[in-house]
Symmetry: C2
Subunit: 358 residues, 2 copies
């Protein structure tokens, strides 16, 4: 119930506990005790104070309280790109869980820049957040926050291995299962289009892919693994290059939703039909993948759960600062959909297909 509807315009100055105390005819100490519920206070008094507070539209200053108590009820969150549905879902999960636990979320979007990331972390330290959840783009942010003794949880990928908490997806296993699915369909030339292979995500996804290939006795052809970094245009060009080769792969495993989009568009540009000419599988499901025809086979990560778990872990860490770091690994389901099917009968034949594309 948001205070009373003041008929007259409220005071220009915001009401403080001093105002409440005076209105109720008690000391600030007593007013504080009445309002917070800690410490004794006479029966009538409590009500009198609460009434006065309501009448004044008093909202305690959380910053002043935190300054005195030296504990904060906000957490800092640092993601790479809110416009990507993965990070947006992650932020949604974090926000929900934080609210449930009584915390406020400060959110910064670092555009994938390591410098912006550290700058945002500094701001979080200045604001004395209780802890930080981050999808790091470089080790710097982890080092910085650790040095400042800020409770920290890395999500999705990890740079502080063994030194900080993390909530990750079982990348290697999910990646292996997707590759096995493709092999099971009969593919023997499977390309992996990936952003990079230094981060834990890239490393593990690549490892899962290789494991599956090796287990099936497929040769590991270097040219089938393409690292396209983070530029959408470059990724699309890389996908097109792959498809225009004299010996194109019959399947492409795209290591994230952006790369899958790049392959999808490149295939459309070149008139390559899914799944007849090419099978496509994606790590990370995105809304469009179940809207298109055929739908795209994908690893469903449940980014919302990832975010919720990260907050839970962070609050545990805040409670027990000395406990050894822990990495929580979440499973992921492979959603088999229409974009993956058996390879073309005579794969080698499909060569110079439709238009040359842009």
């Amino acid at each position: 119930m948001p205070a009373r509807d003041g008929a007259a315009p409220g005071p220009v100055r915001r009401a403080t506990i001093k105002d409440v105390a005076e209105a109720a005819g008690v000391s600030r100490s007593t007013a504080s005790r009445a309002l917070t519920g800690r410490g004794y206070v006479g029966l009538g008094v409590r009500e009198r104070v609460q009434h006065a507070a309501e009448g004044l539209g008093y909202v305690p200053d959380a910053t002043a309280r935190h300054l005195k108590q030296q504990v904060s009820r906000s957490i800092g969150v640092l993601v790479s790109d809110l416009r990507n549905s993965f990070y947006a879902d992650l932020a949604a999960g974090i926000s929900q869980q934080a609210r449930r636990r009584g915390y406020t979320m400060m959110l910064a979007d670092d555009n994938g820049s390591a410098a912006d990331e550290v700058a945002a972390a500094e701001r979080f330290v200045a604001l004395r957040v209780a802890g930080v959840v981050v999808t790091p783009v470089a080790p710097d942010v982890v080092a910085y926050l650790s040095r400042h003794r800020v409770p920290l949880v890395e999500v999705d990928r990890q740079f502080g291995e063994g030194a900080s908490d993390a909530v990750l997806v079982d990348n290697k296993h999910a990646s292996r299962r997707v590759t096995e699915h493709l092999i099971g369909l009969g593919h023997r030339r499977i390309a992996l289009l990936i952003d990079e292979m230094e981060w834990t995500t890239g490393r593990e996804r690549h490892a899962g892919y290789e494991e599956a290939c090796r287990a099936a006795g497929l040769p590991l052809e270097e040219s089938l693994v393409v690292a396209a970094r983070w530029d959408a245009g470059a990724a699309r060009a890389a996908a097109a290059d792959l498809l225009r080769r004299p010996d194109p792969p019959t399947a492409i495993f795209a290591a994230n939703n952006l790369l899958a989009e790049a392959v999808w568009r490149a295939a459309a540009d070149l008139g390559v039909r899914l799944p007849d000419d090419l099978s496509l599988a994606s790590f990370d499901d995105a809304p469009w993948m179940s809207m298109v025809t055929p739908q795209v086979t994908a690893v469903e990560q449940d980014a919302v759960a990832l975010g919720e778990t990260a907050v839970t872990r962070l609050l545990e860490r805040i409670e027990a600062a000395q406990a050894p770091p822990r990495t929580v690994m979440l499973g992921a389901r492979v959603l088999q959909r229409g974009s993956t099917g058996p390879p073309p009968a005579r794969a080698a034949v499909r060569s110079g297909s439709a238009g040359a594309g842009a």
Copy 2:
């Protein structure tokens, strides 16, 4: 440059300005002046203090500073659903612009609940944010924040008409243009699938639709305007009902991206082909709309720009608390794509098409 890499583990207690002052051999006042740059300080002294601060990994406590200065450098942001790309893009724009202007963003997701929204606003007031940007779901939050004299900008829709600032899209005009586009293609039975018509968004989009119909001399058939609220399942059912009528519309204008998705899926369920059997246009473009075949004709809102503009407006408001409220109206482009085409030759004929659907 994030402090030095301390070889020994840092102190358990965070360094304060007192520590810095002692290390530099000056008073706290002088240390403060040296660090903030306000007020005189001797030449050698400034360097000595800065050096000491760096050595201690000193990060000023922003909450303490704000308590003293009574001004805050954070803004509160309240959106309805981060998982919807519209709100995610909006938040991305707000976050970027806030960072550029030196502000931190506190973000809350209210799940479309008016109660959650007010609760989050209370938290923002407690944290003494400099201002709030909100996509309101009910008038309550606007009333609450106004009563507490918190600078406020409403985005996308507006409840505090004439009383608070707003950044809106020109809903009526864009809606009219989309409808005209459909009429131009030859459609005469155009349905409007909308969430509700009490908010400014719904009201204006509906008005634009009616204006275009009226101008073209089309009868305003009540049964062609369907308000489906916010449940995805219900929206899909409503869309299916529309399509299964004995006298189905030849075009549907969906008033947001979720409703467009509902129509898209319902059409697929029923084997209704776009644009041959049905034309579909959407208010608000979403990533999937340019991935599917045919692509979906949509009003492109540029949610990122909406967010950036809202922050700019909010900071202006903070500067000039007394200035009269202003509403900024942003244009929107109609992206004509493949989902809209001429109506079927003999519309009435297409009746009991494929499967009955769920």
